[in-house]
Symmetry: D2
Subunit: 142 residues, 4 copies
């Protein structure tokens, strides 16, 4: 397996410098668990911000998590390109998540010069079945 | 044009009672501008929560806005069904929004017994061109 | 309203020369009804190839129609770019079409240097309600 | 691994009886290679109908293949439900396929009472990389 262009620590350092108020900081919602060439695993911590009455996690926070995980997978695979932007995102909500941490597992399917396409499987922590599945496209600046 | 099943005031009253911490409260991010049978217009207020460095609005907040506007259009069209849930959402980001309020204009394309499909056009306040376009499906409980 | 870069006759002449076996020929399934800057209207003729038992039109043929109509709208708007390719297509099937001609009405939402995004409303001939709705993205070669 | 509700032979027998002109007949474009509970693998044979100038396979035929493969996976998993219908289909075209047979590998992600969601990976025969990736939803009649 190929080594990523940026490690978890390097991506976190970039985020801390460039997006100090962002979701990846020490008090943020998201934590990068692992990266590889073409992939990333990100945890969303259970908190009042994302939990919903009825003991579940908001769909809105899962969309944000899917998009962020794809961004991390791109950075790990091509290096620091802060201007990569989402051009489209398609998400299917499959099951009601439980009120716990959620893990997003992104695999890039195409890493092109102009467009990158990936899929993100979202699961409740400790569960096998997906709660949501996302396919997103990023445009990579020239 | 048919009258909606619920007016803006009635929907706001339901939200205030059921989701008191939600985005539609007096200090919330979203404000319902108008509803009709099969449609809704919702404003997202410019604020630190949604604005991003470089003078734009986060894609994440626009996904949440699109989903919420679709929910309002459904409530206006079939009455109070709090358990309607998003089953899929597809969004295309078309242009960089300016750092201002954003308006989401939802039209339902199908209002079925089991599934409702709608599209949402998102524009910067005062602009004609869309910054994003979304198609979403909600499942309506039996 | 701006004039298109290519008229219906000019697009048909290009198709006849480049894709003589294609769907837009005199015996083909599709007929361009109208083009404008950023739009196209294409008819799919009822025939054994697209009709299905039960008196309806195949979903498969409507996907092909949506994609072809988007291509015509792009040619009308930027001129002859045969190498424009579909990068993604999202279609929602809303109602069962009747066993008749089907009309696809495409409006481009973004006409960028690299990506073009459009939506296509598909209706049975003579009907107001959509039977399907499609959003597609084409990549435009440099 | 669970056994499918219908084997390849049983599905082919249903298709031969119900859709004698369809794509799965002996002279048809498609051939079921394998089914399992929640999955199906279908081959699309290289032929003039699907090959395109420049030595590739039409996007249109790959959309039809993805939809048909998902249908086979549903039949294998819940038995003969001819009235299951596609409600949405989202496809990303990732690479230019070569002029050869194409294989579509469907895995169902959710097998619900009302909705079934699956993904389909499409590859040129003998290749590892996907040429297209599709996510589709079928509605299952009550």
């Amino acid at each position: 397996m190929l080594a990523p262009k940026l490690t978890v620590g390097e991506i976190e350092a970039h985020f801390a410098r460039e997006f100090p108020q962002g979701d990846f900081g020490p008090k943020g919602l998201f934590k990068i668990e692992r990266v590889g060439m073409g992939e990333a695993l990100v945890r969303m911590k259970a908190s009042d911000k994302v939990l919903r009455p009825g003991g579940t996690v908001s769909g809105s926070s899962m969309m944000t998590l899917a998009d962020a995980t794809m961004y991390v997978a791109i950075l790990a695979s091509i290096g620091w390109v802060p201007l990569a932007v989402t051009t489209s995102l398609n998400i299917n909500f499959l099951r009601k998540p439980k009120a716990s941490d959620v893990l997003a597992d992104c695999k890039l399917m195409k890493l092109g010069k102009r467009l990158t396409v990936g899929e993100v499987a979202i699961r409740s922590d400790g569960e096998d079945e997906m709660v949501a599945h996302c396919v997103a496209t990023y445009s990579i600046p020239p």
